[in-house]
């Protein structure tokens, strides 16, 4: 006897078919869903999205949108992880003698990152005695970028040469920045600087020459006038 499927069985089969043709990731929790033109950012299903999801620990995966092969989208699983990057401005001045050079550390938060970021600094690449750096003060991110000041100092006994100062950071959970430790370079020199170009003495010399020349002109004028 031929059995006819009942309505619930048909519905179950239909649901199974939908599951079968759907991408597994499409059913996950989506933190971003941005349809992209094929071949532009998402190259093929299963590939990683390029660029990766900024700042979060979840890297997106390219997936087809429903059953349309031409419509690729970038999805990522799970909720985005709050994270941060750090940047260093160039050391100023780049050359120090027995003074200090400073650089601004900027903490750039992503995905709602907030909290305190602690810094440590190390100086490398210089002969001993090398210039020293003080661990920069912690920066607290509330809702926008936070900054801290890096200071590198040298004394008369510091060896001359180029050095690299590297800043490491960790947040309250011990996580480093997404972009890793950042570095900046500077130099120590005890040679006296010379500023090229005219200064006060050059100006005075010019004025003196101008005065002499003016007197000479006046004298010539007077001589010519008197016949």
């Amino acid at each position: 006897m031929k059995q006819t499927p009942t309505r619930p069985a048909l519905a179950f089969l239909a649901l199974g078919a939908v599951f079968a043709v759907s991408s597994p990731t499409a059913l996950g929790q989506s933190c971003s869903f941005k349809p992209l033109e094929q071949g532009r950012v998402c190259t093929k299903p299963g590939a990683r999205c390029s660029p990766p999801t900024v700042g979060s620990g979840n890297v997106g995966t390219c997936t087809t949108e429903g059953m349309r092969a031409e419509a690729l989208s970038c999805e990522c699983q799970g909720s985005p992880t709050p994270s941060y990057n750090i940047t260093l401005s160039p050391l100023t001045p780049t050359y120090i003698d027995k003074d200090v050079a400073t650089s601004t550390i900027t903490v750039i938060p992503f995905n709602g990152f907030t909290g305190k970021v602690d810094f440590t600094c190390t100086v490398s690449g210089a002969a001993h005695p090398a210039p020293s750096c003080q661990n920069p003060a912690s920066a607290t991110v509330t809702n926008s970028a936070a900054t801290s000041l890096l200071t590198v100092s040298a004394s008369t006994s510091t060896a001359e040469g180029t050095f690299t100062v590297t800043v490491n950071a960790v947040d309250g959970h011990g996580r480093p920045p997404d972009n890793g430790a950042q570095s900046s370079t500077g130099s120590v020199s005890h040679v006296r600087w010379i500023l090229m170009g005219g200064g006060r003495i050059a100006f005075l010399t010019f004025v003196a020459l101008l005065a002499l020349w003016s007197v000479w002109l006046l004298w010539r004028h007077a001589r010519d006038a008197s016949g």
Partner: protein, 173 residues
């Protein structure tokens, strides 16, 4: 009149009638001050870089060892030299515009004349900087080698502008 007779010429100061300044000269002089003031409002990074690069190359061609330290600083024979704005002569070049401008000529002719003069001045500047450096490395104090020579360079520029002028310093007597 010979040089000998010039030396013995009697100068009677009471006979000298000081003529008045023309109206044009103070106006042009004020513009010079204004132009120089405006010039110093810009960092002129590129010109400082170019000037230091030129000095570095000229010094190297004269057998002096050198290296670039930063965009405006060079190290020659172990000595650091920093090229500041005054060192580029850009203040002199810009300040010479009001003195060179010929009101009877077109903008284009004035501009082309100014460009030619600017090239001459920048060349003169490189020569005086290099001479200063050579003198310094031969034991001449920097104050004399650079600054006094700089004063003479400014005066040379003034004499050039004086010969090129199309304006009168003194009014009609």
């Amino acid at each position: 009149m010979s040089a000998q007779s010039l030396l013995h010429a009697k100068l009677d100061l009471a006979d000298i009638r000081l003529p008045r300044l023309s109206r044009e000269f103070p106006f042009r002089a004020s513009l010079v001050a204004l132009f120089v003031l405006v010039t110093y409002q810009f960092p002129w990074h590129w010109l400082r870089f170019v000037t230091s690069a030129a000095i570095l190359r000229i010094s190297a061609s004269l057998g002096m060892t050198g290296a670039r330290v930063s965009f405006d600083t060079i190290r020659i024979q172990g000595q650091l030299f920093r090229v500041v704005i005054a060192c580029t002569f850009v203040d002199v070049v810009m300040g010479s515009i009001p003195l060179l401008w010929d009101v009877r000529k077109s903008l284009q002719r004035n501009a082309s004349r100014f460009l030619a003069v600017a090239v001459i001045f920048f060349g003169l500047n490189l020569v005086r900087l290099e001479i200063a450096q050579v003198l310094y490395f031969h034991g001449v104090p920097w104050t004399f080698a650079d600054e006094v020579l700089g004063g003479f360079a400014y005066f040379a520029v003034w004499l050039f502008l004086w010969r090129q002028r199309t304006w009168r310093v003194l009014g009609e007597v």
